[in-house]
Amino acid sequence: MSAPLCSFYLDESLYGIPVGLVQEVLRGQVLTPVPLAGRGVQGILNLRGRIITVLDLRARLELPARPPDAPSMHILLDHGQETVGLIVDRIGDVIEVEEAEFEPLPKTLEGAPRELLRGAYKLSDRLLLALDVEKSIAAA
């Protein structure tokens, strides 16, 4: 059994989300910051006339803040009626993962990442962290 995941890098960790949820991948977008929106919101962007909210998962995953001028890509997700964007460092490949290689999270992992990650897939050379998309992009 395998399922294709769209992978991406955040702070050198590799994450994956089901490819079916990915609408589009964008490069080089100019975001408008939204004051008062909290750390998890990177800003809004104009996608062919629509306003898309772009989220920064680093806050929710308790990773250090994104350095300004860091290279970025945007993954646009289909979220019910709305398209939501994720800002990531780099896009990885589409990876076919084997369910047999799935491991739930270690009990030693605490805090927010526990809520947002389903578990990890053991790839040949590294771990791919499977993101729970629903929880990750839920509005506060």
């Binding site: 100019v30 008062l36 306003i51 506060a140």
Partner: protein
């Protein structure tokens, strides 16, 4: 259920085709005056139009086409010879019919105006779709246009990024030009899809008239705000829901004339449709002066349908009971009439409106009537806005909230002054509270206070000055909604895409006033800026204004509904008819006294006047909700608290939403909707006589 509009549309298209056929065959007859084929075709064409027009009761068209048939029979029988006069008469007839068809197209009725001047047949070569200099275009074509313009914008963005680096001046200039053209194209295409509400509403007078005939009722339909524009797709989506609400109001809302007379109401019922645009939302209100919603009947029906248990039903407040009518399969009408239908009920109306992101609710006063309120967030509204710069970012301020602009220069006499720690500006003798936009958006205290631009804005009845870094220009912007992560930020009401393709936030002026504390705290000072928003609070809290109600009970109202706290000497309050008002900044503000509103439990109620006699100052809370304002007179303002909203027990008195514990004491939470309804919700401020 027949869809009149579609049938009429078909009738119009078909009739125009037949009229064109008549013209064509008349030309043939001019060359060959006895051509049997042409005579037959012309007769057939008149006959077809006559038949269908009779179906719709278009009597004038029927009469004209009958006359046309008549002439044709005489031509066929040889009783009349075809010549210039006959040709002229037939052409004139055809043109008169065209004129009436135009009227049908525009208003759904033939009208009583004399038909337009007769044009020669050759002059009317334009396609049947052209009416009054406008053009009918299929929605699919518009959708494609929109999609392609969207792609153009994307490509333009990419080009602009590179063009800036170009040394070649020609490329840069061309790219710039392309930029402007595409931005304008984008705006125009968006505008094309906007249609006025009247295109939907103009079928309603006919609908109401027909309903009245069928149901033996008399109803007058008033419409206000028909020129508000909405995207075509939104209009399509609310067409059926609105029609259903109108049917519902005439069928179940307005009583038969005998019942109205018995209730002392005018025989002719009144149905009022009102549309207005506020804060990026289009509001449509349908109010009737009928029997209103019968709360007990609704509760009983809900219990018998198993929607609520008998126990829960007893605890439902008014607003919650009314909301029950939107549940599926709900109908309290004792006879299911052919007009409103069975089960095709308000739940479908609600679903269809929610599908486009809108909401619908109802408010009623038993015996007096009901108001259905539909709210549609605008994805494609175009409003004029002022663009300003703050901290290097551009923001849009809707022009309707803009009063004026002031530029302060360093070293000039005019400057921002401080009342304790509240910044103010002297504007023509009055002190204008000042808000620094940067500060309101989370930056620290302002650095620059002497070389600034002040944008004077209106928030409810108050005004304040917003300090920004720079003022750009006024533009027509397309209001787009923010997604669910950002919707609840009070200072933003949406976003827009500027000419250079970048997104910019649109400021919500009332939200800004609120957040920046143009509301005073207890001591009459501007409260210090709110501490940084706590991330992920454990339980949702809300900020309330606490005050003492009658019986010295504790009452609360959400602070977001409060604009100001005021004090007046008792003489400031005046009576206008049965209402009480106070002169508030030059306008009359409707006043409600808590003592008279909330039924006291004492057996011997104290009079309102007695309660306030002897007090030197009366405390009034100015409340604003959905654009309407009232002044609430209370005994004593107690505190402003932030409390978790939990454990709300249904309220047992009118105007009370429920009771909860605030700081350990039982507190009644006011139902602001009910309060507003008491102040006659359809007017901003009371005027004598209905609008």
């Amino acid at each position: 259920m027949t869809n009149d509009a579609d049938f009429i549309k078909d009738f119009l298209i078909e009739s125009h085709e037949n009229l064109d056929k008549i013209d064509g065959h008349l030309l043939v007859l001019e060359k060959n005056p006895t051509s049997p084929e042409s005579l037959a075709e012309i007769f057939r064409a008149f006959h077809t139009i006559k038949g269908t027009s009779r179906f719709f009761s278009f009597k004038r068209i029927e009469a004209l086409t009958h006359a046309g048939e008549d002439i044709l029979s005489r031509l066929r029988d040889g009783r009349l010879a075809f010549g210039r006069t006959v040709a002229g008469a037939l052409l004139g007839l055809a043109d008169e019919v065209r004129g009436l068809l135009k009227s049908v197209e525009a208003t759904g009725q033939e009208g009583t105006k004399p038909a337009g001047p007769a044009n020669g047949p050759m002059q009317n070569l334009e396609s049947t779709a052209v009416v009054d200099g406008t053009l009918r275009v299929g929605v699919e074509i518009l959708d494609r246009l929109m999609a392609e313009v969207g792609e153009l914008v994307l490509a333009r963005n990419q080009l602009m990024q590179r063009a800036a680096d170009q040394r070649d001046g020609v490329i840069t200039a061309a790219a710039q030009k392309l930029n402007f053209i595409i931005s304008d194209l984008q705006t125009q295409v968006v505008k094309v899809r906007l249609q006025p509400m009247s295109s939907l509403w103009n079928r309603f007078p006919r609908l109401v008239r027909d309903l009245c005939l069928t149901l033996n009722k008399e109803v007058k339909l008033l419409m206000e705000g028909a020129d508000i524009e909405l995207d075509k797709s939104l209009l399509e989506a609310i067409k059926d829901p609105l029609m259903h609400l109108v049917r519902n109001a005439v069928d179940h809302g307005i009583e038969k004339p005998e019942a109205r007379r018995a209730a002392g109401k005018p025989l002719i019922g009144e149905l009022k449709l009102r549309a207005f645009h506020e804060g990026g939302i289009v509001h449509i209100e349908l109010s009737d002066d009928g029997a209103g919603l019968h709360t007990e009947a609704i509760r009983a029906a809900a219990v018998s349908r198993g929607v609520v248990t008998a126990e829960d039903a007893g605890r439902l407040g008014e607003a919650e009971t009314w909301a029950l009518i939107f549940t599926p399969g709900f109908s309290t009408a004792s006879e299911v009439t052919s007009v409103s239908g069975r089960g095709v009920g308000l739940d479908v109306v609600k679903t269809n409106i929610e599908k486009i992101g809108g909401s619908v609710d109802v408010h009623s006063v038993p015996g007096k009537g009901a108001v259905f309120r539909v709210k549609i967030p605008l994805t494609l509204a175009i409003v004029p806005a002022l663009l300003v710069v703050c901290q290097g970012q551009r923001y849009a301020i809707p022009q309707m909230d803009l009063l004026e602009m002031v530029r302060l220069r360093p070293g000039g006499a005019a400057r921002i002054e401080w009342v304790q720690d509240a910044p103010v500006y002297r504007l023509r003798g009055r002190l204008l509270p000042i808000v620094f936009l940067g500060q309101a958006l989370g930056a620290g205290a302002p650095v620059e206070t002497s070389d600034v631009c002040i944008v004077v804005l209106r928030a409810g009845r108050a005004s304040f000055g917003l300090v920004v870094d720079r003022v750009l220009d006024t533009e027509e912007i397309v209001v787009k909604p923010l997604g669910r992560h950002l919707k609840s930020i009070p200072v933003f009401e949406g976003a827009t895409i500027l000419g250079d393709g970048r997104a910019a936030l649109i400021l919500n002026v009332p939200g800004l006033a609120q957040t920046a504390h143009v509301v005073r705290d207890l001591h009459g000072n501007v409260a210090p800026p709110e501490p940084e928003k706590k991330p992920e609070p454990k339980a949702p809290t809300q900020t309330f204004l606490l005050f003492a109600g009658p019986d010295n009970g504790r009452m609360a109202i959400p602070l977001s509904d409060v604009v100001r706290l005021e004090e007046f000497p008792p003489e400031a309050f005046e009576r206008v008819g049965s209402e009480e008002v106070v002169n508030y900044h030059g306008e009359f503000l409707r006043v409600l006294r808590m003592a008279s509103l909330v039924v006291e439990r004492r057996r011997a109620p104290r009079s309102a006047a007695g309660l306030f006699r002897g007090r030197r100052r009366t405390h009034m809370v100015v409340c604003r909700h959905h654009g309407r304002a009232i002044g609430l007179v209370v005994d004593k303002i107690m505190d402003i608290v932030e409390e978790p909203v939990a454990g709300l027990q249904a309220g047992s008195r009118e105007c009370v939403k429920g009771t909860t514990l605030v700081r350990g004491r039982v507190t009644e939470l006011l139902d602001i909707d009910a309060l507003m309804a008491r102040a006659r919700p359809s007017e901003h401020f009371p005027e004598e006589g209905a609008a």
